[in-house]
């Protein structure tokens, strides 16, 4: 199979409709600097904006999404080649560059297939319909007498082949019909998500590539070193910039002594605006050195100190909320608790966790030709383009973002600080500027997943039935950053161009489907003493608060099961199977299927937790947790070993039953789930942002530990489930799969620790000293 690179190399330049260039990885970047603006938005209502077919019967799909290393580009090619009826190997996919691909929002919310896959399928189906009409005209036959396979249209013979008087079938390829020419077909739809032609989608049972696992085309260039990423981009005349961050949160830059770096080799310029400070040099190592040597005087703030991370949950519980949310209530919770025979109560703490990408933030901005081209791995490249235009107050047609591969950060680049910084510096200097953050900057100043303190109460009646569940969350989510907003990214804060009022944030409620007659969820958002110019700034970290909420709720369900002397799987199934009058039967049926599939794969032995106390230093146990996100359902079982002397927890085995509807690429999906599960293990066992009263102190891989190869499970089983009540329906939907697997992992592990030891860990992460302290308490 050809890689995208090889494919595009051989396919030549064409694509008049989308900017006069076909794109190979090499060609786009070489020629990009020459392509002047203005950069007009590709029109999603033109079929030519989405699909180009060449004379050699190959096709390129142009989609407004970004692939963060989960193989979505390959999945797009699978679904679009199926609807178009062209060979998968004869297709390629261009993604996320603002002047080339329609604005589908980039990545976020695991919506690539669930939402954006549908317009992609519809436009491909429409292209097929138009091509068949062209073929019908060409042959002078009705379109109904044509068949198509792998981009070759065949006139169905009027007499059977081989019969007397039969002639060889007449055929023509898509490439012969339209290669090099435009479709010039207008689509309809009130927005890009609703883009459609008049063709109908195929029944999913007729899709040939969907459900198979062609290799991800992005992988070979990642393995042979040939891939050029945003971080690798160079353009003539480029300089390197490094930031100098405030030494403590909220510090004011009083003065800068440029003479401290002016005589360094390669020095170009110091740029200062407000509290933003950067230095630029001809070479990268020179810029790094200059940023270290640059003398600057900062004034520390007199107010607005943080509570240190060791005191943070006391702060979170005692501080008056910025606001409280509307409760979500079913039944009469207070009455149920008043008449309860037994009440169970527990508190759960989840700290700030960072994205801590393996590759610190970076971008290259090129102001040549009075335009601004940003080479970026921004998952939301369209937002970066719009944000930069507003931030610099230049026409958006002057700005484009060329999206390229980059280090995954699971939400970090939704607030793409480096993209704005590179644009700002290039605009100031009039030369191309590449910026990359240091490890300490990235670990300290990246956006954080919000911390939560969650209280849960449950009430049993005299017969032992769970009759009420009461949930209250306090979330440190004040000033949750938006998507590349020109007035909330860090440089906007530091240069004094930020908005006045911070975003309100939210405290999320549970999304399980348990049938409990009386339920209440309440939540409030707790402010921090310092709102702006602080490294404790909230952003979307993979899910963005599902792991926190699910840790609490699914740990608590386990506590209730233990209180009821029930097996944890049985207890959940009973709550899922209970009859209710609400409308979540669809989700509930799929939840039951996943819980059962996970238990079966694991070989779950039915009994209550904790198990009979074992002797010996290392004890083992298993725990289950389940969750859904949008329409995707997962149930996970963890088997752990706990060392009672050291407190070390090893997740020995993981089982994940996963239902995301129609599976496009099982191998790529399974790897994505395995990786997400381990991200969940890392966040369960290791990850936490540490800070003193003034600054984040987890600034490298020693102070900010992460899962390593040493601690991976010896076995992971992923079970792909289709729990749809009508599993063979022709319109079986494809749901998202990028995040849901992360939700139940913390709870599954905590429940397994309880099963093994009889001790509840209610504070994430379960680092060895904390587990040891809990065992000894």
């Amino acid at each position: 199979m050809k890689t995208r690179r090889e494919f595009l190399k051989t396919s030549g330049l064409l694509i008049a409709s989308v900017g006069a260039l076909s794109l190979s990885d090499d060609e786009i970047y070489t020629l990009a600097a020459q392509a002047g603006g203005p950069y007009v938005d590709p029109d999603y209502l033109q079929l030519d904006s989405w699909i180009v077919i060449r004379p050699d019967n190959t096709a390129t799909f142009f989609v407004g999404k970004t692939d963060l290393g989960q193989g979505t580009g390959t999945a797009f090619r699978q679904i679009m080649s199926d609807e178009l009826d062209i060979a998968f190997d004869n297709t390629s996919c261009v993604m996320g560059s603002t002047h080339l691909t329609v604005d589908q929002g980039g990545s976020g919310g695991s919506d690539a297939l669930q939402t954006d896959g549908y317009p992609m399928r519809r436009v491909a189906a429409e292209a097929r319909r138009v091509l068949l009409e062209m073929a019908a005209t060409h042959f002078g036959v009705p379109a109904t007498s044509l068949t198509v396979s792998d981009g070759v249209v065949t006139v169905r013979p009027s007499t059977p082949l081989g019969a007397a008087g039969s002639t060889p079938p007449r055929t023509i390829t898509y490439g012969e019909l339209i290669g090099g020419k435009k479709f010039s077909v207008r689509l309809t739809g009130r927005d890009v998500d609703n883009t459609t032609g008049v063709a109908k989608l195929k029944p999913v049972q007729e899709m040939k590539n969907v459900g198979k696992s062609p290799q991800r085309y992005d992988i070979p260039p990642k393995v042979d070193g040939s891939g050029k990423w945003a971080v690798d981009m160079k353009v003539p005349g480029m300089v390197h910039a490094r930031n100098v961050k405030p030494p403590v949160a909220g510090a004011t830059l009083v003065s800068v002594d440029e003479s401290s770096v002016r005589n360094l080799p390669g020095f170009v310029r110091v740029v200062r605006k407000g509290n933003y400070l950067a230095v630029m040099c001809e070479r990268e190592e020179q810029a790094i050195k200059a940023a270290t040597q640059l003398k600057a005087e900062w004034r520390n703030p007199t107010t607005g100190l943080f509570p240190a991370s060791v005191d943070f949950f006391a702060y979170l519980r005692s501080t008056p909320p910025a606001f409280s949310q509307q409760p979500a209530t079913v039944g009469n919770v207070d009455a149920a608790f008043a008449s309860a025979a037994k009440v169970v109560e527990a508190d759960y703490d989840i700290p700030f966790q960072g994205h801590t990408s393996i590759g610190p933030a970076h971008a290259l901005a090129d102001p040549s030709n009075n335009q601004l081209t940003i080479y970026s791995n921004d998952m939301k490249s369209y937002g970066l383009r719009n944000g930069v235009a507003r931030f610099l107050n230049i026409p958006r047609e002057q700005v484009r973002v060329i999206w390229m591969d980059g280090p995954q950060a699971y939400g970090r680049t939704a607030a793409d600080d480096a993209g704005f910084e590179a644009a700002f510096l290039a605009h100031e200097l009039g030369r191309p500027v590449r910026v990359q953050w240091s490890r300490a900057e990235e670990s300290a100043w990246d956006t954080k997943g919000p911390a939560y303190a969650i209280k849960l109460r449950g009430a049993f009646d005299a017969a032992g039935n769970l009759v009420a569940l009461d949930y209250d969350a306090r979330a440190a989510d004040h000033n949750h950053l938006g998507y590349n907003e020109y007035d909330t990214v860090l440089i906007a804060q530091l240069t004094g161009q930020r908005k006045q009022e911070p975003a309100r944030g939210r405290a999320s409620y549970p999304t399980d489907s348990y049938a409990v007659a009386n339920r209440r969820s309440t939540g409030s958002v707790i402010p921090l003493p310092l709102t702006w110019e602080t490294p404790l700034r909230m952003g979307n970290l993979r899910d963005p608060d599902g792991p926190q909420v699910t840790f609490a709720v699914e740990s608590f369900i386990d506590e209730l099961a233990a209180a009821a002397n029930a097996d944890p799987v049985e207890f959940r199934l009973k709550l899922l199977q209970a009859s209710t009058t609400d409308d979540s039967g669809f989700k509930r049926a799929r939840s039951i299927a996943c819980v059962k599939a996970a238990a079966e794969k694991f070989g779950w032995d039915r009994r209550r937790s904790p198990k009979t106390r074992a002797t010996g230093n290392v004890v083992s146990g298993r725990g289950i947790a389940y969750a859904f996100r949008s329409q995707t359902v997962v149930a996970e079982i963890a088997e752990v070993e706990v060392n009672r002397t050291t407190g070390r927890v090893w997740v020995k085995r993981l089982v994940c039953a996963h239902d995301c509807g129609l599976v496009v690429n099982p191998v790529a999906l399974t790897r994505t789930i395995e990786n997400g599960l381990l991200h969940g293990v890392s966040r369960s066992l290791f990850e936490e942002v540490a800070f003193d009263n003034q600054k984040v102190t987890s600034v490298d891989w020693i102070t900010s530990p992460t899962l390593t190869h040493a601690d991976i499970p010896e076995r992971i089983d992923v079970v792909l489930v289709n729990g749809d009540p009508n599993p063979n329906r022709p319109d079986l939907p494809h749901y998202g799969a990028g995040e849901t697997m992360l939700k139940p992992t913390m709870a599954a592990i905590a429940n397994a620790i309880f099963d093994a030891t009889g001790v509840r860990v209610r504070r994430v992460p379960f680092r060895a000293p904390r587990v040891l302290a809990a065992l000894k308490a």
Partner: protein, 153 residues
Amino acid sequence: MAITLLVNGKRHTVDVDPSTPLLYVLRNDLDLSGPRFGCGLGQCGACTVLIKGEAVRSCVRTVAQSQNVEITTLEGLAKDGRLHPVQQAWIDEQVPACGYCQNGQILTAKALLDKNPHPTDAQIRDAMKGVLCRCMTYYGINAAVKRAAKVIA
């Protein structure tokens, strides 16, 4: 100062400060983007290169220390247009997610298998534990190392 480096079988002379970390010369002067900047502290392994068969962190090694030794980067692993068995195993197992760290994973695995063609699971864990992956592709990496070991043996 003129520094001579022997990289992937070719000799290069660059005029840089001898204290420059090897990483930046490989990336910016020799246009080899396999090694990537991850921490600059020698903690993560994204910048790994092979020097005399050892997996070395090019972010904390100066160019001056790197003269007169054979340096191999990810780009130099394939021979005569054929991927190294470790690289092929990485594709066969569909290992990479974002891929940023995979340079270090692949070269560290190669260094391991060169010395120990039949590593146990415990030896793989120990040899690979210093190369971090924030996409957490470790399970696939573990499978790919074992697959490559079978091919090489």
